[in-house]
Amino acid sequence: MSVLIYIDHSEAQIKKSSLEAICYGAALARQLGTGAEAILLGTVNEDLAALGKYGVTRIYQVAGEALQHLDSGLFTKVLAEAVPATGAKVVVFSNNMNGKALAPRLAARLKAGFVSGAVALPDTASGFSVKKSVFSGKAFAHISLKTDIKIISLNPNSFPLTTGEGKAEIAPLNIAVGAPKVKVVSATQSTGQVPLTEAELVVSGGRGLKGPENWGMVEELAKLLGAATACSRPVADAHWRPHNEHVGQTGIAIAPNLYIAIGISGAIQHLAGVNRSKTIVVINKDPEAPFFKAADYGIVGDAFEVVPKMIEAVKKLKGIV
């Protein structure tokens, strides 16, 4: 009857979005009057027992060299054995890059009802329905699941991290791991930067910045705030910024606590990727820019004058003179 949370990792580090999934799974277990446990495939360089503070009592671990890199087929076979072995009825993933590959696969194998991109705890008052983001953030749907086993993947930055007391018990699970079919040749990660999908604060620039040479102030503001940088589609298409910074309907969708849009008009396709942000700030010299309608705070003004002053103010606030 328990809730089982999948712990995703890369480079032997647990993903922050998996911690959110643990908190979500633990809250769901409390709501259902059952226990929350987690499962890790592979090994990490972290104190697993300490994850107990997020609300899980036990962490199942399946060891195997082949489990350090995702092969969704191989991982699915392992999880399909683990789920009945642990007695779990609800499995929670983060809807992050690996979760998007793995969760639907497992759902198909177990014939489990699946909701991806959940943004809130399930409504279990009568039945079991989960609120998810649809139409690229422009609406929500409540999906009912009627299967015995249910799988939910939680959108990153949709559930708060809360910690309490407690240590989790580590329980090795003995499951035979097959041979991988996917060979990982290389992986590159921009080091020292906050991954955009995990970032709580994001500073984003658009065509109003006129050229790639003007991104210095965007980067400086982002660095001072500990924010990730992003951009609009025309900027990525013009190769002013890398494609992985493009947020919007056809780029990536994000839901940070703060989104600062500088020189972005706010076309509907851009809004689709950012409108789940909790606070939106728009800096644009055009008072008619549609983005102001979706914003919480705004300044109508020239970014080249406003942003340096914002940087000064943040420096003052942080005591950096």
Partner: protein, 247 residues
């Protein structure tokens, strides 16, 4: 080399999102329908590029939908592809769709199955993974690059804050996103030619959906923007710090 490209019909990116029947149905009347951009711009165009390199390649398109999906199938055929298959079923749920696609894929014996990374309406990113499982094939999701060398595919996929390069033997299921290819506009020859390309209609296999949509809701309206004078950006920083408490 046989490629199956899965396409889906979605409302245009600028369509007004509204619901009817007590918020249980998308208000589709008067909406412009398009091929899901990820399916069209990335999955289909990359398949066409592979065929341009190796003309012996055969591309089949497949969609699950009623007769009203045929205009977008013809549009896809105008871009490229040799023939199309429409499974005459409704969009019941992701497992239902994936099961129908799996049936078509099994019959056709494809080396490569492309999907978009997600549809822009339901944002499920579920079909590719489910399909791969039902076909017992490897699955690479969120692919930004795809190259083929004999029967070995080299695929770059997005990971948090970076990318990973994978090698996998065919057959494989790949979900495609930005980077795979560039959007194309169909030309007149393509549009004329599409009319005579075969479009087969198959009846769906009996599959019980595992989920259903209970209702939709729109997000609450924003309270309205609080404007700060351009002369005083420090006030904006103060508000963000003290009122919004975001840093």
């Amino acid at each position: 080399m046989k490629i199956l490209v899965c396409i889906s019909k979605t409302p245009d990116t600028t369509a007004k999102i509204a619901f009817t029947d007590n918020n249980t149905k998308f208000a589709g009347d008067g909406v412009q329908w398009i091929i899901n951009p990820y399916d069209e711009w990335y999955a289909l165009v990359r398949a066409i590029e592979l065929k341009e390199k190796d003309p012996a390649t055969v591309i089949h398109l497949v969609t699950v939908g009623l007769a009203d999906t045929e205009p977008i199938i013809r549009k896809a055929l105008a871009l490229g592809g040799d023939e199309a298959i429409r499974v005459n079923g409704e969009n019941a749920d992701p497992f239902y769709i994936a099961s129908q696609l799996a049936e078509v894929a099994r019959q056709g014996g494809y080396d490569l199955v492309f999907t978009g990374k997600e549809t822009i309406d339901y944002n499920g990113s579920a079909i590719g993974g489910m399909l791969a499982e039902l076909l017992d094939m490897p699955y690479i999701s969120l692919a930004a690059k795809f190259d083929l060398n004999g029967s070995v595919a080299t695929i770059v996929r997005e990971i948090e804050g970076g990318e990973e390069t994978d090698e996998v033997n065919l057959p494989v299921v790949v979900s495609c996103q930005k980077g795979m290819a560039e959007q194309r506009i169909p030309n007149m020859k393509g549009i004329m030619g599409a009319r005579s390309k075969p479009l087969k209609v198959l009846e769906p296999v009996a599959i019980a959906p595992l989920t259903s949509i209970a209702s939709f809701e729109l997000p609450p309206a924003k309270a309205g923007v609080k404007l700060v004078s351009a002369d005083n950006p420090a006030e904006l920083i103060r508000l963000l710090h003290e009122e919004a408490k975001v840093f």
